[in-house]
């Protein structure tokens, strides 16, 4: 009965109702996007960090992993020190450097980012085809490297680390066998990447990189609190800064705080717009039907019934708009994510907007609450009408 009356009231002014639903839909879409944005970055970053199960990153003192070209010296001594802790079950040392591929199939030299890794650990990438990094000369590359160089699995690559302009000769020249193709988790989406044995890259880079690494990744035994191991690393090896997932997320919050604040502000504005729109429309609708409501009260319809009917009317507008808005929100989130995906250096696996059912429920809940609140003021006004005076005024009018 109440639903029928509410529906009749909405259908009575179709243009107005359609505009209200459209307004709530856009507000709901923006709210969903902002809820996804506020939690998406953290979720995405957490997933990315834990993709290979390494809970700790160990970088040069005071820096974040690969935030600068700073490296950690005496890497083998640090590995020995870390192995003293039985809670650390795997260590992946990584060195980053730039290399140049000479005489590529594509005809031009290719400059690529190189990762020196321990092939047995495979912490930075996932092998898609071929075999692992290994020996002294087996390397794997990503699709961007293969596309730029035209190289194929099985090819021998002529790679150099640099050029000495005084001697007019290449430095750190090696012939590497391209053993496999891999997907790298932490490098930029369209960046050419080559992974090769750590010792080979250290030797190619010369004395400045001897026994040095850019970072270590460490896997902690199940059931052990990573933050406890992080504190141990900070104490045991003062030359480095250890970063657990929780401390890395704090850094992300600090650096990307702008987006979260923007999400909260715009989410708040969306809620306010939806609330005001529904309040205004229901208030006007009640004002137009003031005579009707007075008649209903005069024939014995209770105040509670009138209140419920008007609240249901506001709620119906809100729910209709919100359902439409959630669908629009998912589409706009994809568009916005593709825009932000062009950030330079951003890994392909990182997303700003991550859809979670929780986000959709949160948006729906917030808007439904706003819709109920929006109906309360006009409902209170309608329920507290002086019946006789209203009927007389309406009759005279």
């Amino acid at each position: 009965m109440r639903l029928t009356l509410a529906a009749a009231s909405i259908v009575r002014a179709p243009l107005r109702s359609a505009l209200a639903i459209a307004g709530v839909a856009v507000a709901a879409a923006l709210l969903l996007d902002m809820v996804m944005l506020s939690s998406g970055m953290r979720e995405s970053f957490r997933t990315m960090l834990l993709v290979r199960g390494f809970q700790l990153r160990i970088a040069p003192k005071g820096t974040l992993p690969f935030d600068s070209e700073a490296t950690i010296g005496d890497a083998s001594a640090i590995v020995d020190a870390l192995r003293q802790n039985r809670d650390i079950i795997a260590i992946s040392p990584v060195l980053g450097a730039q290399v140049h591929l000479l005489a590529a199939r594509s005809g031009a030299d290719v400059t690529s980012f190189a990762l020196g890794v321990d092939g047995a650990v495979e912490g930075d990438y996932e092998l898609e085809a071929g075999t692992q990094v290994g020996g002294t000369d087996r390397a794997v590359a990503n699709a961007a490297f293969l596309a730029a160089s035209g190289a194929r699995i099985g090819d021998t690559l002529d790679v150099v680390a640099g050029f000495d302009p005084q001697l007019r000769s290449y430095t750190g020249r090696r012939h590497l066998v391209l053993a496999g193709r891999a997907r790298f988790y932490y490098t930029a989406a369209r960046q050419a990447v080559l992974a090769l044995p750590l010792a080979t890259l250290q030797a190619m880079a010369g004395s400045s990189r001897r026994d040095r690494v850019s970072l270590f990744m460490a896997r902690v035994r199940d059931g052990v609190e990573p933050d406890r191991v992080r504190d141990w690393v900070d104490r045991a090896v003062p030359r480095v800064s250890a970063l657990s997932v929780s401390s890395a997320l704090k850094q992300v919050d600090a650096r990307m705080g702008y987006f979260r604040q923007l999400a909260f502000i715009l989410g708040g504005i969306s809620l306010a717009v939806g609330f005001l729109l529904v309040t205004t429309l229901v208030t006007v609708s009640v004002n137009e039907r003031i005579g009707e409501i007075a008649v209903m009260r005069a024939i014995g319809v209770s105040r509670a019934h009138v209140v419920r009917q008007i609240v249901v009317e506001g709620l119906a507008l809100t729910v209709a708009g919100t359902i439409l808005g959630l669908a629009i929100g998912i589409v706009t989130a994809r568009v916005l994510n593709s825009i932000l995906g062009d950030f330079p250096g951003l890994p392909a696996s990182f997303s700003f907007f991550v859809f979670r059912a929780r986000a959709a429920w949160a948006s729906l809940g917030l808007l439904v609450a706003a819709g109920v609140l929006a109906g309360i003021y006009p409902a209170w006004r309608a329920a507290s009408l002086p019946i006789a005076a209203t009927l007389r005024r309406e009759a005279v009018a």
Binding site: L15, R16, L19, A20, G23, V26, A29, L30, D33, P60, K61, G62, T63, F66, D67, S68, E69, A70, G73, G96, A97, Q98, F113, G162, F163, P165, R168, Y170, Y186, T187, A188, Q191, S208, S214, P238, R239, A254, R255, M256, G257, Y258, L262, L266, I269, S270, V273, L276, L277, T280, L281, V284, T332, L336, I339, L340, D342, F343, P344, G345, A397
Partner: protein
């Protein structure tokens, strides 16, 4: 003081080393700092030559204001400077405190910067006779292409870029943020347009009895429509003026907040005449459109029906 030493060691390291791992932005900014360290330290240390001379063997360095504030350092203070955390390091004297430039690329990095003579930095980080880049001024900008070609042809491992290209590459982050803001702006414009349209339609609908009375008095449909449209336009104009004031105040609050958060003189929000014109123009068009639609709907209905008879 140990914390300060450690931090300085890190900074020397950061200044010396361009970023890797695809961090183009980081690499460029660090290279900027290397170049700036040469230029600025020469300039700054010249300005306080008396103090620098007094410091004798200590390395003259300039630190930024944030570092001075956080570490409680002042001009003339001596600190230890090392390229490795925990190393003993060399004595350095602060000869200048620099203010942070309004550079958007450095906003989120929150790094301290120290500047020192190129030779001092090369010695301390074992960089040899190497630099990350040279900045070259040409006599005639028109010759840039030829100069770039000659530098590129000189040897493998060199690459010359026009400053404008570097500016484009390093501003990629901000172009992305700008596109994101435009997209969000588009959504909010649609939301506010619907809201405005709805409110103005309701406002005009409320006048149904006035319109009926005017029509019964013999006022023409055209005059009624014109008056309703003008009223809607006026409301939109007054609303836009108020909205502009609110937006301007909001912009001041945003700048105050983010300048404090990021400790930068950058302007994060600017209300330009173009933005005001867009907002006022849009609301005026929507107001007039809504008024016209509602007025035409009203004048088509017989006056007695409008009165509910």
């Amino acid at each position: 003081m140990h914390a300060v030493i450690g931090r300085l060691a890190l900074l020397a390291l950061l200044s010396a080393a361009p970023a890797a791992h695809g961090q183009d932005r980081g690499r460029d900014s660090v290279r900027d700092s290397v170049r700036d360290s040469v230029r600025d330290s020469v300039r700054d240390s010249a300005g306080v030559s008396t103090r620098a001379a007094a410091a004798a063997a200590a390395i003259p360095i300039a630190i930024d204001q944030q570092m001075a504030e956080d570490a409680g350092l002042r001009i003339g203070d001596h600190v230890a400077l090392a390229s490795e955390p925990g190393a003993v390091g060399d004595s350095a004297v602060i000869v200048a405190i620099t203010t942070q430039a309004a550079d958007p690329s450095e906003v989120a990095r929150r790094e301290y910067r120290i500047r020192l003579h190129l030779a001092d930095l090369q010695t301390r980080v074992g960089y040899g006779d190497r630099v990350d880049r040279f900045a070259i001024a040409t006599r005639r900008p028109a010759d840039d292409t030829g100069v770039i070609r000659r530098v590129d042809d000189a040897a493998f491992g060199f690459r010359a870029w026009p400053s404008a290209d570097i500016a484009v590459r390093t501003s990629q982050t901000f172009r992305v943020v700008s596109r994101f803001h435009r997209a969000i702006g588009g959504i909010t414009i649609v939301a506010s347009a619907i809201f405005l349209l709805c409110i103005l339609l309701l406002k005009v609908e409320e006048r149904r009895r006035d319109v009926a009375a005017l029509r019964l008095m013999g006022i023409s449909r055209r005059s009624v429509v014109t008056s309703v449209v003008l009223e809607a336009g006026l409301i939109a104009l007054v609303g836009s003026a108020l909205g502009t004031i609110v937006g301007w105040i909001g912009s001041l609050v945003i700048n105050w907040h983010y300048r404090g958060v990021y400790r930068t003189p950058l302007a994060f929000s600017i209300v330009t005449p173009g933005i005001v014109a867009l907002a006022v123009g849009l609301s005026l068009v929507l107001g007039l459109g809504a008024g016209l639609i509602a007025a035409l709907r009203l004048v088509r209905v017989p006056p007695l029906t409008l009165l509910g008879r």
